[in-house]
Symmetry: D2
């Protein structure tokens, strides 16, 4: 685990060139029109080491819809605020079924399996409404502090589009409410939930934003402790077992790092005490994760020899 900066840069550069040729793999999410019109040829990669080396390739500076990656930041805020009490209303286990399935939620009395599936993220959203006067403002401020970039915002068009096509998420939320696990109105929860999903960030910003997870919970930009060292390790473990929906096991097997994906085509991951990495390629595989992103990250950990295992 002691790659020189030079070597890392060479490896990632070579890899990026190789995988650029494979752009266009997978299928762009089109469940809402606003996402469907993204160019499938986009491809960006950003790597940031703890020694502050920053590498970026292709469309790494292009903002895209982070979608479910927002679940990681919302969870961090709730975990920091409530500690172990967050687990009173959700679990820490892989879901084993499709990421927006109602079956398991019904069988398990409205308690979502983990905070990284849609249902779990809605419970977190419901908590944030309790914990903050203006939770969306707080979430954006949190991202501004993490990245040093104050222009990060959500996309109004995507947000409206999500709301309009959000029947399945509404079903999930109403089901949880029927079990008493949503305290605020479904309308309010969905509103905030879809706003979060519509946040736009670049690969570079994402790689910066998760640095604290590679640094024992400390935001290197502000030197503030966001999560305790123990909470940070636990969050990383949770990402590893549940961060890629129903593909978490396969991703852990092939890539072997804690990561979180979104249907916008982004993936952000990290190797504790080493580096963070973010990729963006909008083409998704059958399980809703960026196909080129996963392939690239597998080869990235293989060639650098960086892994947590």
């Amino acid at each position: 685990m002691s790659l020189s900066q030079q070597t890392l840069s060479e490896i990632v550069g070579t890899l990026f060139t190789e995988y650029s040729r494979k752009r266009g793999r997978g299928k762009v999410a089109d469940y809402i029109p606003a996402l469907g019109k993204v160019d499938p040829q986009r491809f960006g990669v950003a790597v940031q080491t703890l020694s502050a080396q920053k590498l970026s390739f292709g469309d790494a500076e292009e903002p895209f819809s982070i979608q479910s990656i927002s679940k990681l930041f919302a969870f961090t805020m709730a975990f920091a605020e409530r500690g172990e009490k967050v687990w009173e209303r959700l679990g820490k286990e892989p879901s084993g079924t499709s990421f927006n399935s109602l079956f398991q939620l019904e069988a398990e009395n409205g308690i979502p399996r983990n905070p990284f599936i849609n249902a779990g993220a809605m419970v977190i959203t419901d908590m944030l409404i309790d914990d903050f006067d203006d939770p969306m403002f707080e979430l954006l401020s949190f991202l501004h502090n993490l990245t040093g970039c104050n222009t990060i915002d959500y996309d109004e068009e995507v947000y409206r589009s999500e709301l309009a096509y959000g029947s399945r998420n509404a079903a999930l939320c109403y089901l949880m409410k029927s079990f008493g696990n949503i305290h605020h109105s479904v309308r309010k929860v969905l509103d905030l939930y879809f706003m979060q999903c519509s946040i736009r960030m670049t690969c570079t910003e994402l790689a910066q934003a998760v640095q604290f997870l590679a640094c024992s919970g400390i935001n290197p930009l502000t030197r503030t402790q966001l999560l305790t060292a123990s909470q940070t390790k636990r969050t990383n473990a949770l990402m590893l077992t549940t961060g890629l929906y129903n593909e978490a096991g396969d991703f852990a097997f092939r890539v072997g790092i804690p990561a979180k994906s979104g249907v916008g085509g982004g993936i952000v991951g990290l190797i504790p005490s080493e580096l963070t990495v973010a990729t963006w390629s909008p083409g998704l595989n059958a399980l809703g994760n960026s196909q080129l992103g996963i392939d690239f990250l597998e080869e990235f950990t293989t060639r650098t020899g960086l892994s947590i295992f």
Copy 2:
């Protein structure tokens, strides 16, 4: 990650004393008489570093029924023999449902979720029958080579008892056969499967046996490469996401190391490039894992600061 041997010994010793007072937690597996009569007060811990320091406490030298821990060794043999081809007949994902559930297996056409649930281990067993003339002899030889201990064997009484009470496992196996995913007779597969489950080993032997998983696939006793470095990392990732049945996520969250458990009350785990650890306490929690073992391991990683995250 640089504990002195002295410190490690002190920490584990102190911890063992503390947790010894909590013996008797949980409920001894009693689905077969031969397991039910084990003394719930038994508690053993063995730790072995890569620098060959060996620590053992309590009943660490007492053989017990390793049960599902055998799935790890059987899988290793099949993975070494067949490489990525093992995945043609099983998955790498957490199961998300009870470890002997038929529901998911039926819904997914007889393809088990992973090699560490019962159904998956039976498919591995079916493969071993193809790959070896006398697979049970080979498995025991493999364990003899891993541990340097030639007396490791299976327990005839437990094996007979498992066979007699094995209706649910027979149901799983016949279901897979109906989908064409078991090639040999159910009788033959169950026979070998239950023999494996009935193997008896000590904590010390288990900690030695998984050293290769902490050493990039090399058996330190014989200097032979059992799995490639890449296969070893992947096996560790698989243990992390699926090694503790339906509690894998919680275990990863709390303990944060690759591990495999058995209903005999054993747990074996490892921190790559650092050490291996095995615990034995027969009292199980509601999810079928050793309760004292999990509690001990959580505190062990907390106090030593050793973790993969």
Copy 3:
């Protein structure tokens, strides 16, 4: 099947007296406050033969919340309007799971099993919104024509209460919308659905209202053909196999007549070419059907010897 009017009157009278002593069985539905305050001692029975003999006992003239019995009338309107085309969007099979379960609906792509479970009734409601300018007005008019009683209306308090506590039904409706099987807004569908459920009728009115199902589809009051003879037989068959939620098989076995129940404690049934019968007792069994009602009806068919089998 040729009981004299005298005998029928004696049998039902004796039976009513006997079963009156057993009032208070079961548990009054309390998922909404407006239903929970009904007196569990209420018990009414009305029988009406095709020769126009009308018998009524106890609280037979007391209006109560017909709840799911409304599904029968709404279905009749849609079936009369659309014929076999109603089956393009729902099935004719027993559900086999709880009456408001999402699991089956999800597994079967948003196509409800039959028109007498909640999800199926919502699809019917969605159809009625297409077919009529003011569907609630039409439904009430339909009931006025069937009964000759123009005061039948819905209960504003129950309707508001259902809306306020309707999270699970909202989940069902949004789930179907996500599959494209609800065409209007969920708000509009739920609004009409809950209004229907809140209709209040008496046992006497119910026994009159289903006379057409015992008369080959002809409303005896107006001599108009509401359903064809074939459609009528089919509706009766559907009631027999699916009219009592998840207890339809047991009810067919014990009672042996087409019937529809509601959580308000009402049951309405019929023997083709013979008679119609309605009972009301608010105490429900574990499956949501009136316990005293079922017990009474079983004995009613036994003693009269009237049965379709």
Copy 4:
């Protein structure tokens, strides 16, 4: 309900001619070789009135594998022997899922939904082993008495074939055994179960054999009461709600009579106090029922106007 014998004969004759042209519909069951080789062009119909008129057409005298129709006779024997106690180990509800599904059986603790799905029939078989010294001999004797035909027997080749390909049924049986709902060895139960399924009968024999169900439980050949009048009604109700697997609702809707089908292509049904009918056409629809048989029976009840509704 008062067709002259002349008219009935004419209607059925005309219908048979019409539907003969449609032979070859559906797909012959081929899960075992012995069934797969049956000629798909075979088509037989037998009708027998309570006034002893017997009509037979086409291949009505040709023996075929009755398969699941045997469940009706086995259930009758157990019901006659044990009365309501049979329900201690199985239900009376439609299954709502595929006829050999394990999911529901697992969720409901090994209690099959009804005696006409495979799992339920195995529980009945397990009961018969308790109740009779030689249950297969008794079952054949029962059929001899019902039909007056002493040559009815099972087909050794089909029986062997079923045993050889019976993995899924073995899974069902072992699952129930794991819940304690099978008392004898799985081998013994499956052996008897498959023997029953392999019985060969003709349409004429089947129409005769179920006469008792149209005659209040009395075997007209021997004047013996096999079931009480009440038990007979209940058995008919059970056939209506569960006799055609997962198609029972649709069959009740379209045809409207109690009936039982088998994958050999046979269907036997009845109209109480009127007549019994049996059809044979080996081509099955997607749900495992004879396609031509269902189509013929729908038109048969439509044209004769005979129906229970």
